[in-house]
């Protein structure tokens, strides 16, 4: 099947009755997530968490888990402080977005999807800090949301998407390649349509649309490249889509790498093998957070 243009698939996505309205707290939340952490109003976050009983309960459960060494955290406020803003953000956003997909519709399981998204968020912000990218919070958010289109595909064409994932799994190929072949569009395109409708900021929309094709990004700022590389690293370190992707990636030979080095020369000196080992080291926490929030 040929790859369809965005205009061709737009009606198919938008006509879907299942396509959800933006969950109420997502917009205030994403606005807040983009602030530097010292400008975030903790009371506002506590308010957002308290707004939803299930989310509040999940935050308390996390804060009381042995991983964070806390016991007897009883108020939402102390849970927010115990977990730290980045983790709370991930839990909030993950929970809201997770709810737009009914449990029986998941094409691959929610836990795998959120491990990858959270992994990409953490690696993006870590890499941002390492190379001196000025907005690690933005990198975190973009990493968390980069695969929004997978939720769209799950809802918009559940059965076709399942077949497409199975084909990717059997052929050990990248998901977006399998989407091109079996759906005629990728999660990058469908994610962009939903992100536009939800009025996400322009640079996050660009990440969603071009994280598999950074060269085609019209603005092509460092953020797209950063998330592209983090996404690759996660898929290479067991934080991918839950199947073997047959790939050998020369990250330093990637176009995204060249773009980033242009903006941030520090990247050229980065110890990639060590970063990879760091990611492996961070796995335990990522898995614990995601399991605490999303495991049934």
């Amino acid at each position: 099947m040929n790859r369809h243009s965005l205009d061709e698939i737009r009606p198919r996505i938008q006509a879907l009755e299942a396509m959800p309205a933006v969950p109420a707290i997502v917009l205030p939340l994403t606005a807040m997530l983009q602030l530097p952490s010292d400008q975030v109003d903790v009371d506002k976050i506590v308010e957002l968490v308290s707004y939803d009983g299930t989310i509040a309960a999940q935050c308390l459960r996390m804060a009381n888990s042995p991983l964070f060494g806390r016991r007897n955290t009883e108020t939402v406020r102390s849970a927010v402080l115990a977990l730290g803003l980045e983790r709370i953000e991930a839990i909030l956003l993950g929970c809201c977005l997770n709810r737009i997909v009914p449990p029986d519709k998941w094409a691959f399981d929610a836990v795998t999807f959120w491990r990858h998204s959270l992994g990409c968020a953490l690696v993006s912000s870590k890499m941002a800090r390492l190379i001196g990218y000025p907005d690690p919070e933005k990198a975190y958010l973009a990493g968390l949301l980069h695969d929004l289109g997978i939720l769209v595909n799950t809802l918009a064409c559940t059965e076709d998407f399942r077949a497409c994932i199975q084909a990717a799994r059997d052929g050990h190929v990248a998901l977006h390649r399998s989407e091109e072949e079996h759906l005629g569009f990728t999660h990058c395109q469908s994610g962009k349509i939903l992100a536009d409708r939800w009025h996400f900021s322009g640079d996050v929309v660009e990440v969603i649309e071009f994280h598999h094709d950074v060269v085609a990004a019209p603005v092509g700022g460092p953020l797209v490249s950063l998330v592209h590389l983090s996404d690759l690293l996660c898929r290479l370190r067991d934080l991918g889509y839950g199947y073997y992707e047959a790939m050998g990636v020369d990250l330093a030979g990637d176009a995204a790498w060249a773009t980033l080095v242009e903006h941030y020369p520090a990247l050229a000196k980065m110890d990639l093998a060590r970063l990879t080992m760091d990611i492996d080291g961070a796995m335990e926490e990522i898995v614990a957070i995601v399991d605490a929030v999303f495991k049934p």
């Binding site: 370190r237 990637d254 176009a255 990879t276």
Partner: protein, 303 residues
Amino acid sequence: MVETGIAKPVTESTAEDLRDPAYLKIRNMIYQISGIYQPDEKLYLLAARCARRMSEVNAKTPAQYLEHLTVRGDREAELRLLLNEITIGETYMFRSPPQLEALQKVILPEILKAKSAMGFKRLHLWSAGCSTGEEPYTLAMFLLEESEKMLAGWTFDILATDLNDNSLVAAKAGVYGEYALRSTTELLRRKYFRPYDDKRLQVADRLKSLIRFERVNLNDDSKMTFLKGMDLIFCCNVLIYFDLSSKRKVMQHFYSNLLPGGYLFLGHAESLYQVDDRFHLVHFPGAIGYWKPPVGYTGGGKP
């Protein structure tokens, strides 16, 4: 492969002895000869290895043992025995499944395609620092398992080298117990091993016939220069004891030993960071390889 774990000092007094300047001299001498380097924090490891040899030769102090290594007539033999102690290691078969999976699903298809296009049908692998043989036998089993599939019509051989004579003797014998075989499936055991005694198995001759065992010092420039035409080199947990300038030298050799498009694999915790900038670090799922790009490669990612 060299043991990466922490060896228990064999004598009570080792900790105090570490201050003995003779250990620094021994360390520096070993470095000059073999390129194996023990940083100050790892001197206890060297002291433990020396202690075994010291009791053998009846040396009472490190300074006395240094004499055995420098002025006695049998100093070269003693030095070799000490090197054997230092590089003694233990490993097991199928130790790194992600590496084998990358070989099977990504690397071999890529290399086979490139070589067939040039009319070649032969593969050369090298296990550099093969210790007691677990790695080369693992590779031999892997290749034989593929010989009916993607390697149909291909020939292949494995060079397995180590500095340690004792390891090489054990490697050639190919007798393994439960520890070495703990990740080897029942099917592969039946296929490639025969019973040796009630606790151990011995590798079948068709595995051995694929492997050439040889004593090679990775620091021996004249020897290293001759080992050309490799498609894959495995050198796991060997360079960790080498200091920077020795590592650089070995890497230069490995780079010219490899054919363009070939790969070098190190141990999973080893990094070539700031050691060599000609190899490209290539990520595979769960494994990292160092790639010698073909002539004319200008980036743009990998196929």
